[in-house]
Symmetry: C2
Subunit: 453 residues, 2 copies
């Protein structure tokens, strides 16, 4: 594996050029009319895997966007690593806040700027190129399978059924995923847990039509004002979520693990400065690193109602809407939280109003202990490429499919991510430092090495 | 004036056909790129007034959309009636809630359905046709001037300067306006007062960019959630607005006037049933008719932030926005209220957040006593055409320019409106009953008759 740096050096420009072609396909999974583009992107991934050395690679249909599956079986008696990634990306809106167009990658200050530069096209492509290196140099120590989906950003709705139907095909010993971040290249970390997610759309209705705010204002409740009141009641002044029973299944983390989590080289001041704040605000009694790792949250991801265009319209709207999501921690489940939020919302609205709370998607939280066999291979791989032992962190994000893999395939997933908090994933000017991209390609072959050894 | 019904009968189809041509011009003043259409609409009004018998008619430029001015001077010694109306309309959005396209008028159930059918193209056109009748039959008893603006729905921003610059041109004895509503054809009413308005756009900012709700959620306040909290605090549980000093200048209405206001034939049950509600909700201690007439209000006219498109995006937005307006009563002023809201908003936001409160437009409240000379002519005109004496009401709506006329030209305006609450002005499926349109044309000449007599 020592030749990996030479290989990267030799192929550096080609790797980037191929990645840029991948990024240029605007594979936004949330847009339902995006079928042609999603298919094109899946075919791109299939071809990239064949080019890298897969024996076979196929685009497989699901109930939603297609899945790409590829494999290279060198010896059925050897272990199999299943690499998971996703080719879909978040919507790029608001477009006006991007410095350069989101689907036209550009390198500035040593970083690739584009939607998907990190999440997850950049990180997935590290695996394709690490695989290419191992195959071309004859260093692949075990079998490899790839599963690359197109629905991660919309909750991987079709993947559970796909895994069940294709359990034999996907049979493996461990799953390797790069779709998370680390503290920094100087302080490498490995993600030992992911928060779960439950995402809802709320529609609040008052009177049966939009009204003139002069002729009716004062005589009826305004759904926009009412929605604000309802949302404001969901979190109390201590940052606690008020949904009855919301914390019932939360597993309190031991004092020792909390101490370990708080010992990573996390620069809180820089964390907040990077987003233009002096300091944070959240649940009383927890540190920032705990608030984003081991505690559940509730956020409004979108809100709208009435007239939102240029100028003024004196309308008293009939309806108001919000997208609300909660991040979950072990052992909360989206199903429990969904039932609890729905019944609480019904109680919060005034007489004569109605509310629809639609569960859009979600996922169960996930934990993989730092001392597990799977994690150890990742720890050693990073120690090799970074020159220092990585520390454990919990990610605040969610990859719903990780717990699906565990449930359906019965194997654990290793979350070896190379992103940074500053990569602005899901936001305008998403970026991925070139250094992280190449460090990922360098580290991945070592994981295979130590896992098989 | 007795021949007016015959004249209407003979010209009925032509009146409607001309009105429909007027409505088909989508003169939405809120859209800043609508210049060509606004000019076209002004030219249409100019031609209609010339066709109806004006000596001269001109499209005059202002700092915003143009004003149409026309006149017929039969004898400088006689009184002059200045007719005011507006050719601009509210935006038609949300378009999907219209039964038929907003700018393609259609008659259903004896009503014209279209944006502007009532407000104010339909009501303005009654004056054009009543004027045509009086001129063509040689019955015009005095001088007439028309001023028709294109910015009423966006606060008549240019009209005050226009009136000041053209005070000599606009010299008149009374202003006649049909831009309000009445209880019903069976229970005619005249509007003795209008609420004022102060309309704001609020921009709340937290961190400096959109964040991933998983990686940051729980550690920072969410501007959408914060905006909801701020808005929720603006009105208390008794329906009272909490802005400090908000009620300071409110002139309490006498018990006698409140009794008179509550004596009109207002079917409260039907009022709420028409909008799909069992009953209303508003300020404690006031009836519905008082809440929409003599009490100030605060409404969110629009709210937006984060991801509002299809599907799910797990974003923690950097900003959240709202359009908020208050209806004012004598002697509140938009200037006072603007200052008070701005300073209150600054106090309501959390540390580290910033808020911009932009005053978009507004107007001062207006009152014209029922026993004034100007109002008496309208009372007699309606008594003649309706066969019963109208009752006084206060309108909850605002026509900011009315108090501007009073201030700049020193004359009073008579608000003789023929709309109904059910006309859905400012909303989808705006409509205007044919019966009201023709009753307006019948009544207007009687106003001239009694005013001059």
């Amino acid at each position: 594996m020592e030749t990996v740096l030479t290989y990267i050096d030799k192929n550096r420009e080609r790797f980037l050029s191929e990645l840029f072609d991948f990024i240029r396909i605007p594979s936004v999974s949330a847009k339902t009319d995006n079928g042609e583009t999603m298919q094109k992107c899946a075919l791109f991934v299939r071809q990239a895997l064949l080019n890298a050395g897969a024996d076979t690679a196929q685009v497989l249909q699901t109930n939603g966007w297609p899945v790409v599956y590829a494999e290279k079986i060198i010896d059925p008696a050897k272990p199999t690593v299943l690499v998971y990634g996703h080719y879909d990306v978040q919507p790029a809106e608001p477009l006006e806040l991007w410095t350069t167009p989101p689907f036209e990658p550009e390198i500035r200050d040593g970083k690739i700027f584009a939607r998907g530069a990190d999440d997850d096209k950049g990180q997935l492509f590290m695996h394709v190129k690490a695989f290419e290196y191992m195959v071309s140099e004859g260093l692949l120590p075990c079998n490899v399978k790839f599963i690359v989906e197109g629905e991660e950003e919309i909750g991987s709705a079709s993947l559970e059924a796909f895994c069940k139907e294709n359990a034999a095909l996907l049979k493996a010993d461990v799953i390797l995923v790069s779709d998370t971040s680390m503290i920094s290249l100087a302080s490498p970390t490995l993600t030992t847990g992911l928060r779960g997610l439950a995402y809802f759309e709320v529609e609040l209705s008052g009177q049966n039509r939009d009204l003139h705010s002069g002729l009716f204002g004062g005589a009826v409740l305004n759904p926009c004002n009412v929605l604000c009141g309802v949302i404001d009641k969901l979190i109390d002044e201590n940052g606690r979520i008020t949904i009855p029973g919301f914390y019932d299944s939360v597993q309190e983390v031991s004092a020792e693990e909390r101490k370990q989590l708080n010992s990573v080289d996390f620069n809180e001041k820089a964390f907040f400065k990077g987003i233009g704040l002096e300091n944070g605000r959240g649940e009383t009694g927890y540190t920032t690193i705990e608030r984003i790792g081991i505690r559940p949250t509730l956020d409004v991801n979108g809100i709208w109602g009435g007239y939102t265009d240029e100028g003024a319209k004196t309308v008293l709207p009939a309806k108001a809407f919000a997208k609300i999501s909660t991040r979950l921690v072990p052992h909360q489940t989206p199903e429990q939280i969904s039932a609890k939020l729905k019944s609480y919302m019904q109680k919060l609205i005034p007489e004569g109003f109605s509310v629809k709370v639609e569960y859009l998607h979600g996922g169960t939280p996930y934990v993989l202990p730092f001392d597990s066999k799977e994690m150890e291979a990742a720890v050693m791989a990073m120690e090799k490429s970074f020159g220092k032992k990585p520390l454990p962190v919990r990610s605040g994000g969610s990859i719903p499919v990780i717990s699906v893999f565990e449930k359906v395939l019965g194997i654990k997933a290793v979350l070896m991510g190379f992103g940074l908090e500053s990569d602005a994933i899901h936001a305008p000017d998403e970026n991925y430092p070139l250094e992280n991209f190449f460090k990922g390609i360098e580290t991945i072959p070592w994981f295979y090495h130590f896992y098989v050894k």
